[in-house]
C-alpha cells in the first residue's frame, strides 16, 4: 500500500468522524406525522383464535402478497420460454417490428437493451444520480434541515452543519474525492443510530449512492463517469432493494408513523395495488389493513429488487410512485425525492443488471438441457413457494408479539 493511499484513507476516516459529530449536534429530532385519531392497536398484536394467532385480515393480506410474490417468482423463472414463444411462435414478425418487440421483451426481463436512446438515457441517469445528493444537500441547507425537511437542524449548530452540507454538496457536484463523499455519507448514516435504529433504517436508501462513491477512484474529478459497472450496479440494486425492504418492515412495525402520514395526506391511500391486497377486509379495520398492505407491498417490491427479479419493472413502478408523491401528494417538500428517482432510473436504464437467482436458474437450465422436467418443476416450484412464504410470514408473526402502541 502506498503512503499516498494511507493518507487518503486517513482523511476518509477523520472526515467521516467529524461529519458524524456534526450530525450528532445537528440531528435533534425525528418528526413524526401525527395521527389524527388512534388506531385499533389490538389488530397488530396477538389475536386469539386467528390463524397463527394473527388477525384474519392480516393473514388474508399477507397471503395475497405472498401469492403475488410467488407469481412473479414463477414468471421470472419461465420468462425466457415465454418471450421465446411470444416472439417466435405467436407473433413471428420480422424487420423493425421484431427488433422493437425484442427490445421491449429485453426491457421487461432485465436483459441488456442494446439501443442508442436507451443508452443515452442511462448515461444521463448516472450523471443525475451521482450529482442529485449534492442538490438535495444544498436544498436542505437552505431549509435548515438535514437532507429532508423532516430532519430539522438544531438552531445552535445549524450554521456549522449548513456549511458542512454545502461543502459536501460542492465535492459531489464537482465529483471531487468521491470516496471521501461516500465515507461522509456512510459516517452520517451510522451516527443516525444514536437517535434509534428506526431513524437509521429510514435512511438506508441514502447509502445507495455511497456504495458508488466508495468504489470510485480518488481522481474522480478528472473522469466523466457516465456508466456504472456490473459490480457497482449489483451493490446499488442490493442496497436500494434492502432499503425498501427495511422500510416496508418499519411501516409494519411502526404502524403509527405511516398511518399518520395517511391521516395527513389521504390521497396516498388510493392505490390500486394496495386496494387489491386489502380487498374484502373488515371496513372497521380499514386504516390498519391499509398499513399492513402498504408495508407488505413495499416489502415485496424491495425484496424483488434485492434479489433482482423484474428489477426494471419494479424500478419503474417505484419511479411512478415517487414522482406522484413529488408532484401530486406532497408537493415541493418532497423535492429531495429526485435522489431516489435518479437512483432508480440508473438501475432501470442499466445493461449491467444481474440476479441473485442465477444459481437456481443454472440448476433449472441444466435440468432443461437434460430434459428432466419433473426436476425443473421441483426446482422452480420449491424455490418459489419457500421464498414467498419466508419473505412475508415469519417476521409478521414475530412482530405480533411486540406491543407497538406506544411508538
Amino acid at each position: 500500500m502506498t503512503s499516498r493511499r494511507r493518507v487518503g484513507e486517513l482523511i476518509v476516516l477523520v472526515s467521516a468522524i467529524l461529519l458524524g459529530s456534526t450530525a450528532a449536534l445537528a440531528h435533534e429530532r425525528f418528526v413524526k406525522h401525527n395521527l389524527k385519531y388512534p388506531l385499533h392497536y389490538e389488530f397488530f398484536g396477538r389475536w386469539p383464535g386467528g390463524p397463527f394467532g394473527l388477525h384474519p385480515d392480516m393473514v388474508r393480506i399477507a397471503s395475497r402478497v405472498a401469492s403475488v410474490l410467488a407469481a412473479f417468482f414463477l414468471i421470472w423463472f419461465v420468462r425466457r420460454p415465454i418471450t421465446e414463444y411470444i416472439e417466435r411462435s405467436l407473433l413471428r414478425v420480422g424487420g423493425p417490428t421484431q427488433r422493437a418487440l425484442h427490445k421491449l421483451a429485453c426491457f421487461l426481463t432485465d436483459q441488456p437493451v442494446r439501443d442508442r436512446v436507451f443508452h443515452a438515457i442511462g448515461e444521463w441517469a448516472v450523471i443525475a444520480f451521482l450529482r442529485s445528493p449534492g442538490l438535495v444537500l444544498m436544498y436542505s441547507a437552505t431549509n435548515d434541515s438535514l437532507v429532508m425537511p423532516s430532519f430539522p437542524l438544531d438552531p445552535a449548530s445549524a450554521q456549522i452543519f449548513k456549511f458542512v452540507q454545502v461543502a459536501l454538496a460542492i465535492l459531489i457536484l464537482t465529483q471531487t474525492w468521491l470516496p471521501l463523499c461516500g465515507a461522509m455519507v456512510v459516517g452520517t448514516w451510522l451516527y443516525l443510530f444514536r437517535w434509534g435504529w428506526m431513524v437509521a433504517v429510514d435512511a438506508v436508501p441514502v447509502l445507495t449512492v455511497a456504495v458508488v462513491y466508495l468504489s470510485s477512484p480518488w481522481q474522480s474529478h478528472k473522469l466523466a463517469i457516465t456508466r456504472i459497472n456490473a459490480q457497482q450496479m449489483r451493490r446499488v440494486r442490493f442496497v436500494l432493494g434492502l432499503g425498501f425492504l427495511a422500510l416496508g418492515w418499519l411501516k409494519v412495525y411502526n404502524h403509527n408513523l405511516i398511518a399518520g402520514v395517511a391521516d395527513n395526506a389521504p390521497s396516498i391511500m388510493k392505490d390500486r395495488m394496495i386496494g387489491f391486497f386489502m380487498a374484502g377486509t373488515d371496513p372497521h379495520y380499514r386504516r390498519e389493513c391499509w398499513v399492513i398492505a402498504f408495508g407488505l407491498a413495499e416489502i415485496m417490491s424491495g425484496f424483488m429488487m434485492t434479489v433482482g427479479i423484474f428489477t426494471r419493472v419494479w424500478g419503474a413502478i417505484m419511479v411512478f410512485m415517487f414522482t406522484k408523491l413529488l408532484l401530486v401528494d406532497f408537493g415541493w417538500d418532497e423535492i429531495p425525492h429526485i435522489y431516489p428517482i435518479s437512483a432508480l432510473l440508473t438501475v432501470i436504464f442499466s445493461n449491467q443488471l444481474s440476479s441473485e437467482t442465477a444459481p437456481i436458474e443454472a440448476l433449472d437450465e441444466a435440468a432443461w438441457r437434460a430434459g428432466h422436467h419433473v426436476r425443473r418443476l421441483a426446482i422452480i416450484g420449491g424455490s418459489t413457494i419457500v421464498a414467498a412464504i419466508l419473505v412475508v410470514f415469519p417476521l409478521l408473526y414475530f412482530i405480533s408479539f411486540f406491543d407497538r402502541s406506544g411508538l
Binding site: 420480422g94 441488456p112 442494446r114 439501443d115 442508442r116 438441457r369
Partner: protein
C-alpha cells in the same frame, strides 16, 4: 430429403444416422430481414442453412452494429452456444428469404455420443471461423479499407451470390459492408461507386450485381494495400 446430407459436417455420417437426424431436425423458414435469434438469447440449437443468406452481427450497448460474417447455404451457425451452453454471442438475421434446419443441442449431443466424427466436423467449422476472424484482425491492422471491403465483397459473392443472367446477385448494401469492415457508410458508398465506375459491379437499391466475379477477384491484387 431434408438437405442434411449436403452439409459438410454430416457428410461422413452413415445413412441411418442422417435419416435419424432428418427426422429430428426442424425445418424453419424466415422472411427477409428477420432475426433467427438475438444476441444474449439462451442457446439451444444449431442451425444449418438450406437456402438463402444470413448475416451474423453484434450490437454494442449504444446500439451500434458490427457485422461479423455472412453465411450461405450449407453453412452452420449457433455452434458456439451448442458447445459451451452460454448465451448467444451475436444476432443472426436473414439477408433474404432463408430456410434453415434446426437441431437441438440434446439431439446433437446424442448423435455425438454415437458418431464422434460429428464433433470433429463442428470443431473444424469453429476453426474456420477463428481463422476468418484472425485474418480479419490482421486486415484491420495492416490493410486499407478499400482492400478489406473488396475482400468482403468477393467473400459474400462466393458464399451466397445468386447466379442471374446479368451476373451474381449479392443481397448486401453499403451500410452492411461499412459495418463489416468498420468504416463509415459514406466511405463504403464511395468505394462501391468507384468499383461500379470500373465496371466491376452494379449498385441496385437492395442488392449488388457482380457481372464477373473473377474480375472482382483479380481487382483485389491491384487494390491499394
Amino acid at each position: 430429403m431434408s438437405g442434411l446430407e449436403r452439409v459438410s459436417i454430416f457428410a461422413k455420417l452413415s445413412k441411418p444416422h442422417v435419416e435419424r437426424l432428418n427426422k429430428l431436425a426442424k425445418r424453419e423458414s424466415f422472411g427477409k430481414d428477420t432475426a433467427i435469434f438475438f444476441q444474449d438469447d439462451r442457446s439451444g440449437a444449431l442451425y444449418v442453412i438450406l437456402s438463402g443468406a444470413v448475416k451474423v452481427y453484434q450490437t454494442a450497448d449504444d446500439g451500434k452494429e458490427r457485422v461479423l460474417n455472412t453465411l450461405g447455404p450449407g453453412e452452420i451457425f449457433g455452434e458456439l452456444g451448442l458447445l459451451d451452453e452460454s448465451p448467444r454471442s451475436a444476432t443472426v438475421a436473414t439477408l433474404e428469404p432463408t430456410e434453415v434446419l434446426a437441431l437441438t443441442s440434446k439431439d446433437i449431443r446424442a448423435l455425438v455420443k454415437e458418431e464422434p466424427e460429428v464433433l470433429w466436423k463442428i470443431v473444424e467449422a469453429l476453426c474456420d471461423r477463428i481463422r476468418e476472424l484472425t485474418t480479419e484482425a490482421l486486415d484491420v491492422s495492416f490493410r486499407s479499407v478499400p482492400y478489406r471491403m473488396l475482400r468482403m465483397l468477393i467473400q459474400a459473392t462466393n458464399k451466397h451470390g445468386k447466379l442471374t443472367l446479368a451476373g451474381m446477385q449479392v443481397m448486401i448494401d453499403a451500410k452492411h459492408l461499412a459495418s463489416q469492415v468498420n468504416c463509415g457508410v459514406d466511405q463504403a458508398t464511395g468505394i462501391l461507386q468507384r468499383l461500379a465506375e470500373a465496371g466491376l459491379l452494379k449498385i441496385h437499391r437492395d442488392h449488388l450485381l457482380v457481372p464477373d466475379p473473377n474480375a472482382l477477384a483479380r481487382a483485389l491484387e491491384y487494390e491499394d494495400l
